[in-house]
Symmetry: C2
Amino acid sequence: MIDLNRLYSERVRGAQPSAIREICKLIDAPNMRSLAGGWPDPAIFPNREVSQIVSDLLATQGDKVLQYGTTEGLFELRSELSRLAGEWDGIDCSPDQIMITHGSAQGMDLACRVFIDPGDVVMVGLPTYFGGSSTVSSYNGVNAGVPVNEKGLDVELLAARLRALSDEGKSIKGIYLVPNFQNPTGTTLPLERRERLLELAEQYNLIIFEDDPYGELRFEGTKLPPLMALDTSGRVIHMRSFSKIFSPGMRLAWVAGHADVVRKMTVAKQFADVATNTLSQYVLLEFIQRGFLEQGIARIKKHYHLKRDFILQKLEERFPKEVTWNHPAGGFFIFVTLPQDLNAMDLLTEALDHNVAFVAGAPFFVDGSGQNTLRLSYSQASKEDIEIAVASLGQLIKEQLA
Amino acid sequence: MIDLNRLYSERVRGAQPSAIREICKLIDAPNMRSLAGGWPDPAIFPNREVSQIVSDLLATQGDKVLQYGTTEGLFELRSELSRLAGEWDGIDCSPDQIMITHGSAQGMDLACRVFIDPGDVVMVGLPTYFGGSSTVSSYNGVNAGVPVNEKGLDVELLAARLRALSDEGKSIKGIYLVPNFQNPTGTTLPLERRERLLELAEQYNLIIFEDDPYGELRFEGTKLPPLMALDTSGRVIHMRSFSKIFSPGMRLAWVAGHADVVRKMTVAKQFADVATNTLSQYVLLEFIQRGFLEQGIARIKKHYHLKRDFILQKLEERFPKEVTWNHPAGGFFIFVTLPQDLNAMDLLTEALDHNVAFVAGAPFFVDGSGQNTLRLSYSQASKEDIEIAVASLGQLIKEQLA
């Protein structure tokens, strides 16, 4: 038989098996009351609208919508996104500064191809979304963690860490963050921190990888300008997704940035998968142009807002006072901190025995800390599941405290 | 402004601007009679079938078909493909040995992630499909060219080259080839060469990257077993595409291989784009199960067969006797060799002035040879375009010969 070990690339030989993937299999068991997955609720999927649009498109434009498209994505769609970026967020970017990607993860992957050499450092939150940090690692980049508090990434600790790493002579390439309703903490970076972050990026000549899949899902408070809208030097790679406001299965996302960066990411995509699904892009274009997107977002926000209120109420009722958690102003996630001596992985093992699932926080910490934290998602679970899962978890935590 | 040059990764800084991409812009001009693109003919797209299936799926299963899917792809689809691989090609592989990719290019990209370290050598044809060789280069792998003759890759020259490279102490990782109706030459590797290729792969412990997007489009002669069906040691990565027999815009392809290799490629895909478009996968599954795929292939083969016959007839009538070309038994391409002292790039410049386009052969040769070759594609052009383009090219070649 083949000797694969001699043949595998170094990056693959160095990869660790993922503990999360193994746990995911348990979480997927039937009858599980799960607050684990960060998936959207199918109740808000636009089935009828998509069906009607596909039918209309295939009746008249099958030759275009089933054919290959360009690597950067459909021009008309990029034009719409250029318009929306301006209207919604004050981002001034031309269609040439936008590319369509097959999901946001692809945006981050292409950005890493373009910027990350082995050993390059990217600053990330403690905790951070591990999709982003894992992609950095997959290019043999190094994630350097900076604490996140209730207002998101602590920019003064970031400044200190940048200074120290710079003094050590490290090649620091960028800062990765989810500025709005961060996965996993639900925190949003205030305006003054956004400005300070840009100052630091300027000082150290860094790329900012701005991953913003939840920005449209704000339930309360005032919308903040994306880092890209505040940036004046073209150093932000702004990644947006339609997974939460349209359909995750359609795998549509977009990246906006410096025209030269977008061009280089487009060349990288040429090798990666040539082009994004054409039919999906045309469907989304029609979905926007027929006004369904804006209507849909209003409906979706209301849907998740109610769910957030419900889980917060249940947490208040059922969790012991030794436990703390945040009140996210949008998005999908509640981040829970247990007393220091409790371990969320032990709690998860117990919980799974009771058919209740969540995600332990530790995998979100690149420094191995966060053992006493966990993430609860209210996006996909039914009210009944939320009620039962929270009650059960509250009980298990009380038992562990006793 | 940002100093991007300090930030770009080495692989990006080393990348050459693509001459082909610039020419593509000219080729896309309106009124061009183009034999350049290798795109499928929209006349054979299954518009009605896809429309009906999408409508049926969204009426009852929107919650599944618009939701995220697993990274390896829909289990039911992988099961169907496992069955078809056995029935059509004598490939014995379980669904666990199959993954769905977002186009065949993604299959090759993930395979390179898993196997190619900088400096690793992959053997390719002279000429070869540059999508494959470019992906190797994008991982800083090195393509080593071996002549292709009328029967495909010359396996005895391959043996000699492997011996030489091995003696030089090179790290040789694999052989990349399109065994059926190769892009660009249209040649098909005979059975005895397939067997010899496997022997050599065994001897040097190599991966075979078997890229087979045209295999189903055989117009005449007997189907040959894929390398994967002949392999006994799990060293073939078999890449198949639905772009030519279903829809290129749906971006659906699959990879079959050693279970451990497929698992590692799946982990790589997790970073690359998480999962392939769910709706497209369900549509394809239904398309297969309703019998449309097999019916469609019969119709598509007939369609391209007629086009091939037409272009061969026109070439016979219009091209001077100093020029030679192949008679492909399937696929999309005719490969033309001009007399040694003519240059296909010069001819292309002339042709574009006459609103006729083709692809010069040189970019398919990793050693810079093939200056007197060109590729003509009959897949997408109308009969009228084929007739006029061939007449015009014949005339221009005669002028250059004079």
